[in-house]
Structure formats: C-alpha cells, structure tokens
Symmetry: C2
Subunit: 458 residues, 2 copies
C-alpha cells in the first residue's frame, strides 16, 4: 500500500525523526474542538526545507497524504488526518532567520510561534501584530489566514505576509513575493497560499511585515447595559475612523466565565475591551472620542489599564476566555462559531445569534473581534449526548446562513478545514469549483491535506 511504502522510505531518510508512537499519532490526529480523533500513520519532524522537499517527494511518489502541522490549535479540524498519511510537524523548524529593521520585515521558519517571535523582536522596537490568542505557529497562522484581536488596526495574515518559501505537491521548492512593499508582477501566489490550509503546498519559510511598537499604548474596559449598546458603540467608533488597535466584545456569559476562571471582578454585564496605539497625544485623542461615544450609548465603569502588567492581565484574561468557557461546564466540548458580517449588521447579527441560542436551549457565550464584524459563540455540549450535539450543529448552521444572508462570511478567521466545508458551495457558488480546479492543477494526486477545504475529488 502506498502509505506504508512511503513510510518505509521516510523512515530510512529521517530515522528517529519519523514517529509512529501512539501518543504522537493521537496528538496529531486530535482536534481542539469537537471532531473525532483521526490520526495519521506517521509524524515526520523535518529540520530543513530540504528535509521537507524530500518528505513530500517521497509521499508524492507513493500518493501518500501529507498534512502540515504547526501547533494544532486550529478549530475546524484542519490539522487532523481523516485519510491517514504523514503529518509534517514543523516544531523543529523554529529559527528566526533575519530581522530587517530598515525594511521592517522578518524572515522566519514556519514553526516559530507568535509569542517566540515577539519575544525575540522586543529589543528592536518592532513587533508582529497578528494575534489569534493561542500561541500558534506562524506557518499555521498563514495557512488559516488567521487574525485576532489586532486585525481591526493591523490587518490579518493576508495583509502581513510579504512572501513565502513553499514546497509544492511535487516536492519542488519555490519562493513567492519579494522584499519590496508592493508588486504587480503576475498572479499573487503569496495571497493564494495564505489561507490554503496546506492543501496547495507546505510553507517552509515566511517573510512577515513588522510594525513599530507604538510610542504609547493604553487599554481599557467598559461595561454596557446590553449587547446592542456595546455593538452600537463599536459601529460608531469604526465609522468615525478612530484607529482602534483592539476592540473586543464579551457578553455577560463570557464575563461570568472569565471572572470564575481568572479570578477577575468585572461587573456581570457585557463588556468592551479596548486598546489604543499611537503617539501620546493621538492615544489621548482616540480614548477621549471613544469615551464620549461609549457614554452616548450607555457605557459605564470605564477602567484604564495603563500599566503594562495590567494590560497583560487584561489580554491574558481575554485570551483564556475559550478555556474559561470550557471550564464553566466541566467535561463539555465546544463548537466555536466564527461568523463575520458587515459592521452595519453586527448588532442585529449578535442579537439574532443570542435569540437563536436561547430558543434552542444552547449554552453559547459570545465574544469576538467586533471591530471587524467578527464574533464567536462557544456552543457547549456533552459529547455523549447525541441529541445535544445535533442541536448545536444545527444552530451553528443557522448562524452561517444568517451571516451569508447579511452579506457576510461563514468564517472570519478560523478557516474551513473539515468543519465548514459543507458551507463552501453556499458561500462561493461556482467559486468553490474554481478553488477545486486550482487545487487539481497544483496537486493532481490530491496528496496535500486531502479531505479539507476544496470539493471532494470525483
């Protein structure tokens, strides 16, 4: 069988760096959320681009599936192995290769995590802004087109990847992009690969745009009587062009969960969590405009976190919200929705979501990157309870339909993987077949992360 033959050759090539241990297979076949375990047949740990090229070349010859793996935090089953094969774990390719202060970019291997990168950059006065909460790998983040709390100001991975080195489905190494700030030189291959979830090739190097650490940063929380008030404040802020660095919503259920988990003492009301970046005067100006708007919409209990340690505590509370929500119902699994709608429809979308969950009797705390019109409901269910699971899946499907009916998207940032593939035709129509045609052209034997994102091969 192809897979076993590939593994035989890989084992000679990689020795100890090819694992078939049960724990490795299970770790790499698991999901952060609710998908059943689907382990690969082996896990490879390359150290160099050359290793990766050889791994893919061997797998290509034997038509063995190849699945990239960063830190496995993706939420739609992207890094699982539903058709078996070889998972390529990039944890040993974790070098920062070059930092250019003059041109404000960094060149990294894909296994570098965003926290490790920013740690390393600290002395340079520069930072990499994309922040999905989880300490994900940069290769994984590019592959899912991740974003997070700072996208409202600094954009997503789409905007912050300048170029890639990629191993194609044939095992060929190619480079996309340049170090220049813009280019009109042919098809945007970088843009095509960002968000392709490892279905078109493996990323072995990334050139990323950096940003200057702002002169001043301040963060704040503000409570509201209800979610629509909070959301209307966000809409007004965005429409006034205030360049918010972060603007996050937590509904009252999320607030309760984080209070219990992190020992914080936010009043039990919906909250916005904010961050302002700029010069001292710009930050003061932005904060004043925001404060006025919040007051107009009934905001209260505005609290500053100007000291770095208070800010860190605030954002770590936010980043742990997922775990806090899981902990609020011990033993439960979570299906995280991720719809994104035009800003003007956001209040309506959040309210419709809350009403739907309430009437379906589903626990689903809501939080989100509301400056982008993007929010998540964490739908909790008991895995052993098939009826509850089905109810949650149906609700998540209705939420996708809601987003699409408003001109939005099924996923603002988590991607497609296994979980959202069934909505692709609804969202893209003939565009989904176009994605399939591109996939077939670049990976005729369908070895790169099969079973995800694109239409099933006939």
């Amino acid at each position: 069988m192809g897979i076993q033959d590939a593994i035989g050759e890989l084992s000679s090539l990689l020795g100890q760096r090819l694992s078939r241990s049960k724990s490795d297979l299970e770790l790499h076949g698991a999901s952060e959320t609710h998908f059943p375990l689907t382990p690969p047949d082996a896990v490879a740990f390359p150290k160099t681009t050359e290793d990766v090229a050889q791994i893919v070349e061997i797998c290509a010859r034997h038509r063995c599936p190849v699945i990239g793996f960063g830190t496995g935090t993706s939420l739609e089953g992207q890094s699982q192995a539903p058709e078996g094969g070889v998972t390529v774990d990039f944890q040993h390719m974790n070098q920062i290769l070059e930092v250019s202060q003059g041109d404000m970019f960094v060149r990294v291997q894909p296994g570098v995590t965003r926290e490790a990168l920013n740690e390393e950059l600290r002395a340079t006065g520069l930072f990499f802004p994309v922040d999905p909460g989880a300490n994900a790998s940069l290769g994984g983040m590019a592959s899912t087109r991740a974003s997070g709390t700072t996208a409202v100001r600094y954009g997503t991975m789409r905007d912050n990847v300048l170029g890639l080195e990629v191993v194609t489905a044939k095992g060929e190494v190619l480079r996309t992009g340049t170090r220049a700030r813009k280019s009109s030189s042919g098809y945007d291959l970088t843009g095509l690969l960002v968000g392709s979830e490892g279905t078109l090739g493996l990323i072995t190097e990334l050139t990323l745009r950096l940003h200057g650490i702002p002169e001043a940063t301040s963060a704040a929380v503000c409570a509201f009587e209800d979610v629509p008030q909070a959301v209307e404040t966000v809409i007004a802020t965005i429409q006034m062009g205030v360049p918010m660095a972060r603007i996050e919503l937590m509904d009252v259920d999320s607030v309760r969960a984080v209070n219990a988990y992190a020992g914080s003492d936010l009043v039990e009301k919906p909250h916005l969590l904010l961050e302002f970046h700029g010069s001292e005067s710009a930050v003061a100006e932005q904060a004043e405009i925001f404060g006025d708007l919040a007051q107009d919409f009934g905001g209260s209990g505005f609290q500053w976190a100007a000291k770095p340690e208070d800010r860190t505590a605030l954002w770590s509370m936010r980043h742990n919200a997922y775990h806090a929500i899981l902990a609020s119902r011990p033993g439960a699994r979570c299906l995280v929705t991720d719809i994104c709608v035009p800003i003007s429809r956001l209040a309506e979308a959040v309210e419709a979501c809350r009403a739907d969950l309430q009437s379906s009797d589903i626990e689903g705390p809501i939080l989100g990157h509301v400056g982008d019109g993007n929010f998540h409901a964490c739908l909790l269910f008991d895995e052993a309870n098939a009826e509850e699971r089905a109810r949650v899946l149906e609700a998540s499907e209705r939420l996708v339909d809601l987003a699409l009916s408003m001109g939005g998207t099924a996923t603002g940032e988590h991607g497609i993987g296994i979980g959202k593939r069934r909505y692709m035709e609804r969202e893209h129509g003939a565009g989904w077949a176009m994605m399939g045609a591109i996939k077939t052209a670049l990976d005729p034997d369908n070895i790169m992360n099969p079973g995800k994102l694109v239409p099933p091969r006939n």
Copy 2:
C-alpha cells in the same frame, strides 16, 4: 476560422455594439508607450454582465481570444491584441450600483473611472484612494493591481478590492469575496484575480473599500540638493512611521519638464511632493516631523499648498509629468520603467539608475512613489532609431536586474502584459510555471488575453 465565426455570432447578438471600424480597431490595438499596433478583429461594447457572459461563451465555443479593455492606459501593452480576437470595451458599463456609507464600500461596474467615482462620492464624506494618475477604469486598475501616489498610506488595489463579479473563460458568472471586512473562507479568489490582467476572466463588477475624507489635508513641496538627500528623507520618514498620504519624488529633469509643460516655477532641483491626511492636530504633527527630517537632510524651499486649489494644481502637475516628459522631446516615444525595491535600498537604486542612464547616454527623467520604494524612469527614444531603441530596452533590462538583485520586483504597479513577460522567470523561478498551471486550469483553451503575463502555451 474560429475568430470570424465568433464575430458572426457576436454581430447578431450585439448589432451596432460590435464594431469593426478601422478607428475602433486601431484605438484598441494601440499602446500608451512603445509597443507596435496589434489591433483586435472586432470590439464589443457590452452593457450588462449578461452581455459579457454571452460574448465570452460565444468566443469560448470558437476559441476566439477575448481581451478586456478599460481605458487603455496600461503601460506594458496589456490591452493590445497580439493574437487578434475580440476586445471587450467596458465603457458603457459605467454605473455606480451601490454606496454603503455604514460599511464604507461601493459597488461599481468596471467601466467607472476613478475620477467619476470620486466625483460621485464627494457628498458622502468618503473617497476611493487608489490613484494611478491616469483617469483609468476601476476594472482595468483591479486587473493590473494598480496603485499610485496614495498607496504609501491607503494600499494598492490588492488592499482595496473587497470582492468581484467575474465572467470566467467558460462564460460562467461568479462572485468572489463578501461585504465583511475579513474572511478565512477558502482560497482568496479576489486576490488571485486582482493583478491577473484579464487572463483568468473578465471583471463585470467590483466591490471597493472606501475611506473617510480626512478632516484635514495639507500638501507641500520641498527641494533638495540631490536625489540621495531627498530619498534619505523619505526613508527616515517611513521608518519613523509617519503616516504620509503621499510622498513623491521628481528628479531635476522631471522638474524641468513639468516647469516647461505646466508653467510652474519649481527651482531646478530634485523635489519631494507631499500630502498629509488626518485630524488638524495630526496633520500639524506629521508636517512638523517631516519638516525637521527634511532640514536634517538639506531640504530647502519648503512650500505649503494648504488651499484646495493649490493642492489640485500641485497634483495635476504631478499627474501630467508623463506627458510633460514626452513633450520635452517632441516626437519621442517613452519606455516607462517601474521597479520597486525595499525602502532601505532606494537611494542606492535611484543613484544606480541615474548613473546607468547617464553612461548609456539615455534621457530618462526619474519620478516615483518613493514611499513604497517604487520609481519610474521615462526612457525617451526616437522610434525610427533602432539603435537608440535597443539601447533603451537594454537599459530597462539592467534596471530590472538591479531591482531583483536588491530583493525587489520588476514592476511595482504597471504589471507584466507583453513588455515584462521576459523577466517573469527571473523574478519568480518555478512560481511562473505555477501561474501557468493555474491559467491552464481556469482557461484551458487560452482564450483570455493570450500572449500576456503567463508562460507561452506549448
């Protein structure tokens, strides 16, 4: 023959809206720069997406080339018809379909020009920033991934197209993108089509991101003793993170040409032309920082153009620079180079370019969007002088090599078309073949703008 059969059918479909007049064929086969006339066999003037779909469907059946046409201002022969066929001129598809103030986007047909769009938007407080100088069509601008003077602040067409409606090579209509501000829903088809120069399909509608007209705008010019001083000032400004709205260089030859053409009286020295956008206080702060930096680098003769009419005069002078340079040598043709390098290499690149032109005895005034590291030399030559033409072509090739050796690109914004196709392999290596594979998958019969951008079909 396929083309003639297609024209027969098209003529029944379109009646008067299919032209075979000599003047129409020549107009659509000409180039703004130096490429020989290559007329199509007919020019179609669709009014609706349905028209376009039918035109392409007919051409597909007869394997007849289809070339999109906006305003024909592209500079690398993109809209010419080297293999004949039918040019689809979008001038009658010039409706603005929807303006959303709340979500800050506009939906337009492809024939709307950027000036017409901004005229229409004036009352809304919003504007569309991408500005290639020429009054190009938005469909053409998306197709070449255009940018221009404001890209340093607002990005290029890559950053400002939210979604498209496209007629594929099969004559199928599909939509890409959504109205949400971000999405991780599959391959970025919008990004793939932007910059594809009509080789993958025809754009029949665009959804574009709008920006708020800034509270305050001010513009200025500043003279420098030499080009390196001007460029060092730009580098320092960008590296300090000053959010310049425009920062343009004209070398002394360009200054002479525009003085003669526009009757302006800039001192005969290299100049930077600047624009600042923001709140009153932000603009004042930016201008002060810039002024200090310019002084450090020997800038002088700082002059403000705070009144709208002075600003308009300034930018219309800049936008007419190409024509001014052409007029400086009556009867001459111009090859416009368009290299883009990392900012840190910009001074070196501009100096190397000047030295090369001087030693090759070529007249080539330099100007550019230096905030992006992007500049143009307008290489003048006498069309009847084969030796001079060859000398100019060789110089332009050396400039591309220079850009690539610095980690830059052969084209910052003008695109590939016919003129830069021979540099694609040098810039992209195996990536160019990947572009070819995508093209073949989406347009198996190679009817969409053949002879441009991608590798020749075997």
